[in-house]
């Protein structure tokens, strides 16, 4: 009798262990295959005040990372985004915001970034911060930038940076993105699909 019970117990334990092993294997495969989760809350400076994403988040949030003295890439992306925003209804505009984060901590002031962003569209928010704060935000979104010096250039430097428009939910998590955003129609469609 005791021997039968022991055998049943051993079988049950073995079954449970095999099931756990399968669950573990399945989780490992899923975790390896799934897209990484980027984004989250962050804290920078807007004009003369600290600006926390969570406190200002809309239902849908767009994020672009660049710098004010970028003469071509950033203005293109921001102007196409602005064109898309102009097509939105008043009600849609209430539910979405674009945030521009400058990676040029050495040259872009909080005022210049804010002025710059808002000229493309009044509700665009331009943010900056210390070099360390900016790096944290850039890493948070899986973006990157490199400052290249050029002593022969008038500015003396240029910054190559990720050219991607991120779409964030209310928690700042990246739910979608457009690389090289050069079509206002694509941006508009993407905004509407997430509103």
């Amino acid at each position: 009798m005791a021997s039968k019970l022991n055998t049943k117990m051993i079988l049950k334990l073995t079954g449970a262990l095999i099931a756990l092993a399968f669950i573990g294997l399945a989780f490992t495969i899923w975790n390896t295959m799934r897209e990484p989760t980027w984004g989250g809350d962050f804290n920078l400076v807007h004009r003369d005040q600290r600006w926390t994403f969570a406190q200002h988040a809309k239902g849908l949030n767009l994020l672009y990372i660049g710098y004010v003295k970028c003469p071509d890439v950033c203005p293109l992306s921001l102007s196409h985004s602005a064109e898309a925003f102009r097509e939105l209804t008043v009600e849609e505009k209430e539910r979405v915001r674009l945030t521009f984060v400058s990676v040029d901590a050495s040259h872009d002031t909080a005022t210049s970034v804010a002025d710059y962003a808002s000229q493309f569209f009044p509700s665009f928010v331009g943010l900056t911060g210390s070099e360390n704060e900016i790096r944290k935000v850039v890493i948070l979104f899986g973006a990157s930038f490199v400052v290249d010096t050029d002593s022969k250039s008038y500015l003396g430097y240029s910054i190559s940076h990720t050219d991607r428009l991120f779409f964030l939910n209310k928690k700042g998590i990246v739910i979608d993105s457009i690389p090289n955003p050069r079509s206002s129609a694509d941006i508009l469609n993407k905004i509407r699909s997430h509103l």
């Binding site: 293109l76 493309f120 008038y154 190559s160």
Partner: protein
């Protein structure tokens, strides 16, 4: 033929060796030459144009001056490691009878620190050195996204 050449001759000035000779044919023409109205907060802006080499030889073009900007550079846009960047180039070579477009997202002129406010609608003179000759042409200041007439030649 005269009717075709006349507008180009009026719009492009060439200051070669024969200062008082009859006007030479245009060696280079500019179409859609435009400067993007500078954005407040930034001290830089970009300029674009389609440049046509009207000669039978390759032409090396250098930007010399665009008053009232303190500095002007030719830049090329590149993509590396999923990042977009821009770098200064010394000059631009346009093949014989070919065109080269300075365009958004591609090669462009980068203009720094205007000494006065530059407003959409005004014409600004740009000076190039094309294979050793001084070429002056006008760029129209436009708001970004503003469409220009395709036949706006200089």
């Amino acid at each position: 033929m005269k009717a075709i050449l006349a507008p180009a001759l009026c719009l492009v000035s060439i200051f070669g060796s024969a200062a008082f000779a009859a006007p030479e044919a245009a060696i280079v023409t500019f179409t859609n030459a435009r400067i993007i109205e500078p954005v407040k907060g930034a001290n830089v802006t970009a300029a674009y144009a389609v440049i046509k080499n009207e000669t039978g030889k390759p032409m090396t073009l250098v930007i010399s001056q665009v008053a009232p900007f303190k500095a002007i550079e030719m830049h090329e846009t590149y993509e590396k490691d999923e990042k977009m960047g821009m770098r200064r180039i010394e000059n631009l070579t346009v093949a014989a009878h070919e065109s080269f477009e300075l365009k958004p997202g591609g090669n462009h002129l980068m203009l720094f620190d205007p000494s006065r406010e530059v407003k959409a609608g005004e014409q600004i003179e740009a000076t190039f050195i094309a294979s050793g000759k001084t070429i002056k042409t006008n760029f129209k200041v436009v708001k970004r996204g503003e469409k220009m007439n395709d036949h706006d030649h200089h």
